[in-house]
């Protein structure tokens, strides 16, 4: 390292001159390495003889060779003491032409001007917003652990710099930096002021470092994935342990009335008539449950039979039947109970009648029968049935009791409140009455609710009355949907399956 004064003032000397601007003494001194250099300024146009003397510890004065350095408008005279004694008071004097000009007493160890730190390195620590800065102290003996450092850093191109002071240690971790940014870092050093004192050294050449980009810590990603996996496993376990319950909720079973009819499907293979004859006694003794899944459904009158004389006499019986009804959906009282009762009896009689044109396996699920009152059902049923449209059986009586009935759960009662709305209820227990067809007079439909919806268009009651004069319509099925559409204007109904026969006009 060259002496400061061996270089032009533009470099190190200028820096030192800046540092010593606050020095009030005329003689300014600094220690560079192990040698003390003292200098003073004089104006140019003066030509004098300068002598520099120093002494310490009551010894004799010693002289030092004075050199000069020409600046723009001044001259700098300096002297470098050979073998500078430290830790003792030095008395220095400047004599101009033999006369004392300046004098000063100082301890050399208090004016150290160190070299800047070496090997400054800036590295990314891998963590977001951090940089590792490290350097080496200037090569001075006995002073390694009595130095203090100052680290200055700024974003490249910015003038706003921050300063960090570091004692003794020769490395520093910069925190709180912007991610993915290029930083400039400088370091300088000074004696810590206990054993040695001095001036701040010159800044090192700037070293650049780039902070790592802010991305997700892989550890965090792994943790998130791991927790997600655990949650999935937990939910899977819960689902599997309750899969039956969830399956029931999402994919409900189609209810079958099999449990209500023991042996109907297994033994008698669906032959209801046979099953009825065998299980006659046990059937009615059982309580009937109201199935809450059943919805009210509309009925349509297709034909009409004439009233019989038994209507009025059966009014009382009807009222009794009504009390036995366990319809959960009945909201309106039907207006003509006697007809319902008559219908039940007719249905029952038909079931027992072997001459029935209809097949006995007509209604296999719990069927509902609805009677229609001719007088009430003037209006057309407007609504289209949905969901649990029952399979329907239309019976027309023209004097003959050619009705097929079933002893399935009877008891659907018409609900007609003038709006033409029909609703069939789930089955309810019907007392053990024999049905006797009362003769023609009313058209009625057997509504069977098998949980299967069927779409059809309603008919007007007048039309139904017209139909009633002609023929009977049977709708045989075995848990099948007969894709019929009720005509509005007497269109031909074609049977969609073998088991279905449509009306013949």
């Amino acid at each position: 390292y060259h002496g400061i004064f061996s270089l032009p003032l533009a470099f190190g000397g200028y820096h030192l001159a800046q540092l010593l601007q606050d020095e009030t003494e005329h003689i300014k001194c600094f220690v560079e390495g192990k040698d003390l250099t003292c200098f003073w300024e004089e104006r140019n146009n003066l030509h004098h003889q300068y002598t520099f003397t120093y002494s310490y510890e009551n010894k004799n004065k010693m002289a030092c060779a004075v050199s000069s350095l020409l600046a723009s408008n001044k001259t700098i005279f300096f002297c470098k003491l050979p073998k500078t004694p430290f830790f003792t008071t030095l008395d220095v004097q400047v004599l101009r032409d033999g006369r004392m000009l300046y004098t000063r007493s100082l301890n050399a160890e208090n004016f150290l001007f160190l070299d800047p730190p070496r090997n400054l390195t800036v590295m990314s620590s891998g963590k977001e917003g951090q940089l590792n800065v490290s350097w080496l102290p200037p090569p001075l003996k006995y002073m390694d652990d009595s130095m203090i450092y100052e680290v200055r850093y700024a974003v490249e191109g910015s003038n706003m710099g921050k300063v960090e002071v570091v004692k003794v240690s020769t490395m520093l971790v910069l925190l709180g930096l912007q991610s993915d940014t290029r930083y400039k870092v400088w370091v300088r050093v000074k004696p810590d002021g206990v054993a040695y004192k001095g001036y701040w050294s010159a800044w090192t050449e700037p070293v650049f470092g780039v902070t790592p980009p802010s991305d997700v810590d892989p550890l965090i990603v792994l943790l998130v994935l791991f927790i997600g996996l655990i949650l999935c496993l937990l939910s899977l376990t819960v689902i599997l342990s309750h899969h039956k319950f969830l399956l029931k909720k999402l994919w409900p079973d189609i209810p079958t009335p099999e449990h209500k009819f023991p042996g109907l499907f297994t033994v008698y293979k669906g032959d209801f008539k046979e099953w009825m004859s065998q299980n006659n006694g046990s059937m009615w003794g059982r309580s009937v449950h109201v199935y809450t899944e059943e919805l009210p459904s509309l009925l349509e009158v297709l034909s009409e039979v004439s009233r019989t004389s038994h209507d009025t006499s059966q009014r009382e019986e009807e009222e009794e039947k009504e009390s036995e009804s366990s319809d959960s959906g009945l909201t309106d009282r039907w207006r003509d109970p006697p007809h319902a009762h008559w219908l039940m009896e007719q249905l029952r009689a038909l079931q027992e009648n072997p001459e029935s044109r209809c097949q006995s396996s007509l209604l296999q699920s719990h069927d509902t029968y609805v009677t229609l009152n001719q007088g009430d059902n003037e209006q057309q049923v407007d609504d289209v049935f949905e969901e649990t449209l029952p399979l329907q059986t239309l019976f027309t009586t023209t004097g003959t009791s050619s009705l097929s009935t079933s002893h399935s759960d009877l008891g659907s009662l018409q609900q007609s409140s003038g709006s033409g709305r029909l609703s069939s209820q789930s089955s309810f227990e019907y007392p053990n009455h024999t049905w006797a067809p009362k003769g023609p007079g009313y058209a009625y439909m057997a509504v069977a609710d098998s949980g299967v919806s069927m779409d059809y268009r309603p008919m007007s009651s007048s039309r139904i009355a017209e139909l009633g004069r002609h023929r009977m319509y049977t709708n045989d099925y075995k848990n099948e949907i007969c894709p019929h559409k009720w005509p509005l204007s007497g269109q031909y109904i074609k049977s969609g399956s073998e088991s279905c026969t449509g009306p013949v006009w």
């Binding site: 073998k83 008071t89 003996k141 006995y142 206990v194 040695y196």
Partner: protein, 178 residues
């Protein structure tokens, strides 16, 4: 058994690693921060002295050790010679400070001087532990100062210079070169 050995080895490795990373000297007695504490207290006495108006203490002359250090010369002196010189100088300082303390009228300065005396006693003990002073105390050169401020400055310079250089250069206190 193997688990215990593995644990012990790992613990030892941790300690070795920790020891290798230390900046301070290996022996606690070689810690220069103790000496730096004494140096600061000696400088505190100088500050109190400067605040004295009208002379807090008697203006006497004291015999004090030489404090100047020529690095080139000092490095060629044997460590033991250095130790002898330092110990002699410390005893001289104690004598001078004791004399000064008796004559000082300012109580604050007197207590500071008393503190300095006890510090120098501690330093003597530290140095005798680090560098056994087996050779006889040689007749070292001394100088004479005429005032208490000069005495305090000599004390400060002596501690910062020769005492500190000796302690940092003592063989028992040398750090392992990495």
């Amino acid at each position: 058994v193997f688990q215990g050995c593995g644990g012990l080895v790992s613990v030892l490795i941790v300690f070795v690693w920790l020891g290798g990373n230390q900046v301070s000297p290996l022996r606690p007695i070689c810690d220069l921060r103790v000496l730096e504490h004494f140096i600061r207290e000696a400088q505190d006495s100088e500050v109190i002295m400067r605040g004295c108006r009208g002379g807090c203490g008697a203006m006497k002359s004291y015999f004090v050790p030489l404090t100047s250090v020529d690095f080139a010369f000092w490095e060629h002196i044997d460590v033991h010679e250095q130790a002898v010189e330092v110990q002699t100088g410390l005893s001289l300082l104690v004598q001078a400070l004791s004399t000064a303390m008796k004559a000082v009228s300012n109580s604050r300065l007197a207590s500071a001087l008393d503190n300095n005396i006890s510090n120098i006693h501690s330093l003597s003990q530290i140095l005798s532990t680090v560098l056994p002073d087996d050779s006889a105390p040689a007749s070292t050169q001394s100088q004479e100062v005429s005032s208490l401020p000069e005495l305090l400055q000599v004390q400060s310079s002596f501690l910062r210079g020769k005492v500190r250089l000796l302690l940092s250069a003592a063989p028992a206190c040398q750090r392992q070169n990495s």
